[in-house]
Symmetry: C2
Subunit: 109 residues, 2 copies
Amino acid sequence: MEYLEMESYLKAIGDHNRMLILKYLTAESLCICEFTELMDMTQPAISQHMRKLKQAELVTEEKRGRWTIWSLNIRHSLYPMLIHLLSLLPEPERTVETLIAEGKKVICE
Amino acid sequence: MEYLEMESYLKAIGDHNRMLILKYLTAESLCICEFTELMDMTQPAISQHMRKLKQAELVTEEKRGRWTIWSLNIRHSLYPMLIHLLSLLPEPERTVETLIAEGKKVICE
DNA sequence: TGAACTTATAAGTGAACACTTATATAATGT
DNA sequence: ACATTATATAAGTGTTCACTTATAAGTTCA
């Protein structure tokens, strides 16, 4: 891997909000509107973070109806390292279970 | 490890010139003036990169006479991951052997 | 068709970044 | 003391970054 490619990769991960997004994605795939509920961020902010993560090939997207469902790109060569790195971070306060309890979990179909 | 701490760490690594500095340091400790010979960067630029790396506790410094000798901080909890990450990067074109051949290797004593 | 909903994009803003040149600080050797 | 050497810091600059608000684009369903 070249230096500039590694730089792009590390810069994509190296933001606390994107790390939190990635942490959520280790548990399950989610859509933008769920992130906005989980993370106290505006929808455009989330969208722009997803674009960054996508450009670095850290995540993949799947359009389903009006939703875009985001997943970790398990095919990336540095995926195992990413998982290890994320395992060192604490679980977020708001979880997908919180969403379910509040009736805000979206079934995208 | 907290999210903001991980962010500082990744941001410190996430620059191609600092990755090159770290790559050099995996082989041996070096002083600023050697980096300026190896890397086609000005001395203040190198100094400022070292300060960043030091703040993130990726490197340690040892003053010896007029030189400051920099080393990887092998005590950092993420040191093994750093080594793995750097192992994925190609060896630099200019090496310490090049310096020796040119008579520019400094013996700091 | 049109309203509601989800997401993406555009434009603007203040802060951080990676450099530059100039200068200060500190140790060495004559 | 003075010149040389090695490094650190200061100030300035153009670029990138992470947001904001506003709006556009696309889907669903009445």
